[in-house]
Subunit: 163 residues, 4 copies
């Protein structure tokens, strides 16, 4: 029974429908959906820390540096990071270069949690298990697969990650 | 990248609203919801084998024997079994007594998948990762926790499984 | 633009999934779902008055007398009553015997609003329009139909009301 | 009991989430969601005729002429038109100029039906009742209100139509 910390960074998982623009966007208040995903999963033990809410296309080295600092500051060894899928691999590579002595699992969603029929719960449920079960290292967990950072790559055609 | 087989046995996860009786029950046709849970999770690789659709309060030794036979017959080493939560621990103990040389993960849901706001995807997403990541043995995966068969026990008061 | 009052009495529309009993039942707190149905419909003008939360099989003359009193006490001429479908016709007949000088529309649902894919919004949306558009009298509005009290009758086989 | 015909023209009601572009857009196949809205409402009697699937910002006189022709060709006197909200008033004015001898009700949604928590069912349920209950003329039915064509106007600030 390991303590788990979830760092949220935004991505599609956290977006909602904006009726004004008729688009999918981050809510004005910027509150992550992750606590609600956990509530649906009746999973109450992880610590949740919202870092920011950005599209992963906006992810820069500064944002990645902040993620790194929060991973290092965490007292937990098992870390889940929710992240947009487009640049999830780059953040995984960035973190994998360090020797952090933790199990770090990146996950996200192709369809926002707020649209009800979403992969968010399935992916986060997998990531939380992976963070507890896997050896130290950096991984992506998407669509039922554990993928080491080095081979993580979104299949843009099919909208999923293959192992 | 391990092949995974999912054996479905019913339980709350598979129930639907029946407007005639105004209850939650198995659909007349008896088709499991598991393929749809996987579809939501964009998870297409596991083999799915529907064994039966029963409430876990109806689970008998004969049903458990059938589960055992199908676990042994499976060519996959990584096995997920969807199961009602009330007697999940007993089926886990039953399977744990045998030395099956496989990683067997039981999972289920407290709220039916068909009601949209459900723990089914979260739990199944976790179970599929666990079946690939854990050593041989029998486990329950519920609410973000991996629980060895020996200590698996539903918290009836809180409606969850604690590790 | 007529003011509308909605009197809620329970029925399937207001039930929720109870994970303890694995049934569909009224929530412990007894708060009607009608305000949320209205919120989904972006319909903010009706007054909502929760009378009680009962299954319509429990509807007695005393409950009906209370409904009658609240209809008469309402300052609005356009009244919607949410009601279970099983005895909706009897309450409609009861009210139709009085000459109330109001447009009274009974409506409900075959599937609870809380299960997301429900007829509740469709029926309530129709009932609110009917209460404003129809002449004084007592009607049921279900499944897209306006049905005068005298001919209101649930089709138990098909789970709907036919005009 | 009047026969009702629904002409679908697209609008937000019919849009779905497109995971490739991460936007809300019409599905590639272009099938209207209206039959599913009716199915949820257990409302099986209206004839449904899909005219096209466009954003109401793309609505031109040619599209309006086509709507007019299909209204006139319909054997039903009670007509519902699903339409985007941005130019619903203009199409209503266009139709109101003709003396069509029918009850024509425009409706739509601020949030797509496919996102589950939507005003689509509420509005369509109201429009179908209005088409049967109102005198000949052209109306908008949104958010529980019947609004004659002449005074139909979206409140862009609040995302609704006020009567």
């Amino acid at each position: 029974m390991k303590p788990v910390r979830i760092l949220t960074t935004g991505g599609t998982l956290d977006k909602v429908h904006d009726w004004r623009t008729e688009n999918i966007a981050f809510a004005g208040q910027g509150k992550s959906q992750v606590p609600e995903v956990l509530d649906n999963g009746r999973c109450y033990f992880p610590a949740v820390e919202q870092l920011f809410q950005i599209d992963s296309l906006e992810m820069t080295e500064t944002y990645r540096q902040l993620i790194l600092e929060r991973v290092m500051a965490a007292k937990e060894e098992a870390i889940v990071i929710t992240h947009g899928t487009s640049t999830m691999d780059q953040t995984a590579h960035f973190l994998a270069k360090r020797n952090l002595g933790k199990t770090i699992v990146l996950t996200g969603a192709m369809r926002p949690f707020s649209l009800f029929v979403s992969d968010a719960g399935f992916n986060l449920g997998g990531a939380i298990i992976a963070a507890q079960a896997l050896d130290h290292g950096v991984y992506g967990v998407m669509n039922g697969r554990v993928i080491p950072a080095a081979s993580l790559k979104k299949n843009e055609q099919l909208g999923r990650f293959d192992a």
